[in-house]
């Protein structure tokens, strides 16, 4: 859209930043991507998100929007002429928000128990929790191709960014998501076939390398 300036402040390994990238791609929007170094946050980031000081931040014509799911909703509402990401029916919308919220409340923290585990027991606990969450999500997915039904949408966007971290979870906690949750991995493959998703996600092996390096620096390994 002529005259619209979009800047995304992000860190490429973030599963939350991935949500925003995917939403922007789904809407066919041009934007400037700026990589943040979270050890040395830019003045712009601190100015645009003074409350949380976190990425992702979307800056639209100079005005910041923070919190990934809020940004995705903003993108969906502002550019509402095509590719709706959320359902229009209020009840379906409430269901979509519920699942995105469930993912936010549960998956990140349980995943961290694996990646930043201080011992095997913690990693094992994280693994159990992550698998439980995945099984619940499989239930929500049912036989549908995507969480919203026939079309890729809000809940899919909320979850698929974690794809980047699956290899790290599996390798550190020694398990196979495919073996335990084949339906979810079928959904995962389906999403990765979308160009908008494939170009928005970093390489899972590169994410794993970063986790290993960080673990050494933190003295966990």
């Amino acid at each position: 859209m002529a005259g619209d300036e979009l800047i995304l402040l992000n860190y490429w390994i973030s599963m939350f930043g991935a949500r925003v990238r995917i939403a922007l791609e789904e809407k066919g929007l041009n934007y400037e991507y700026r990589e943040e170094n979270l050890q040395n946050k830019s003045p712009l980031l601190l100015q645009m998100n003074p409350v949380h000081k976190k990425i992702p931040v979307l800056i639209h014509n100079g005005k910041p929007i923070c919190e990934s799911n809020i940004i995705v909703q903003y993108i969906d509402e502002f550019w509402n002429d095509k590719t709706p990401l959320l359902p229009s029916d209020p009840y379906e919308k409430a269901q979509a928000r519920f699942w995105a919220d469930y993912i936010d409340k549960k998956l990140y923290d349980s995943g961290r128990k694996i990646t930043w585990n201080k011992n095997k027991e913690e990693a094992e606990e994280g693994k159990k929790e992550v698998l439980e969450i995945f099984k619940v999500l499989e239930g929500a997915l049912g036989d549908k191709p995507y969480f919203g039904g026939e079309n890729f949408g809000y809940v899919d966007i909320s979850l698929i960014g974690f794809h980047m971290w699956f290899y790290a979870y599996e390798t550190i906690a020694n398990f196979s998501i495919e073996a335990e949750c084949p339906k979810l991995m079928a959904w995962d493959k389906r999403c990765l076939e979308r160009k908008t998703v494939a170009k928005s996600l970093g390489d899972p092996k590169a994410v794993y390398d970063i986790v290993l390096k960080s673990r050494k620096i933190k003295g966990l390994d």
Binding site: V51, K63, I65, I70, E77, A94, R97, F98, D101
Partner: protein, 221 residues
């Protein structure tokens, strides 16, 4: 409201999250039935069936279909009965309101719990953190009468119900919000003048008693 619309709220009288939903329903002039849940005793089959993942109140059943998580319920109420609108009309205003609703949900109740669950140095730290959060919210409101501007709106609904527990925090934390955050206290009083709030505002002394019970249960006293 058409006579075939049925609204049932699964409720706990002291829950600030239930209060939040009741205020939203009142703002929209909606009639509804309540079913009091004995969350400490035994949860009803209806609650367990309607909210299998969390088994928590409030749950709003609209013509038998459940919506769970109080903020999600308020969004649903606002979208299903759009007049008077609680969320701002423009996308950017909406995302700002969502941001602060999210901030409130992430911070306020937990910070309050840290106050009534702790003693000594921990209590002092918890009190300071709580006051800091209220100061951030004062900053968000600025010189406006309400979070949304001149009109009572979405963020006001999300926050005002939680203030029914603040008297308890003041008592256990040994501080007065009127002294530490006078703007915030003025906003609370302004909101309490509204019918929707006045009719649903739980007597702070009763909440204080309830929190006292919780403290005993948690072995704080």
């Amino acid at each position: 409201m058409p006579t075939n619309e049925e609204l049932l709220l699964l409720d706990l009288w002291v829950s600030p999250f239930s209060t939040r939903v009741k205020i939203a329903l009142a703002e929209k002039g909606l009639s509804y039935k309540t079913q009091e849940e004995d969350v400490l005793g035994g949860k009803s089959d209806l609650l367990l069936k309607s909210n299998p993942l969390y088994a928590k109140v409030p749950v709003l059943l609209h013509n038998g279909k459940p919506v769970v998580e109080s903020t999600n319920i308020v969004y649903y109420i606002d979208e299903t009965w759009p007049s008077p609108q609680l969320l701002p009309a423009c996308s950017y205003g909406k995302s700002t309101a969502r941001f602060w609703a999210d901030f409130i949900d992430k911070k306020v109740f937990d910070a309050g719990r840290n106050i009534w669950q702790s003693k000594g140095e921990e209590l002092e730290a918890a009190k300071n953190e709580f006051i800091d959060i209220l100061k951030k919210l004062e900053g968000a409101m600025g010189d406006k009468d309400y979070f949304g501007g001149d009109k009572f709106g979405f963020v006001d609904v999300i926050l005002i119900g939680l203030t029914t527990w603040f008297y308890a925090y003041e008592k256990y934390g040994g501080f007065k919000i009127e002294k530490e955050c006078p703007k915030f206290a003025a906003w609370v009083n302004r909101c309490k003048e509204r019918d929707s709030v006045a009719k649903n505002y739980i007597d702070p002394e009763r909440t204080h008693e309830f929190v006292g019970l919780l403290r005993k249960m948690h072995g704080v006293e």
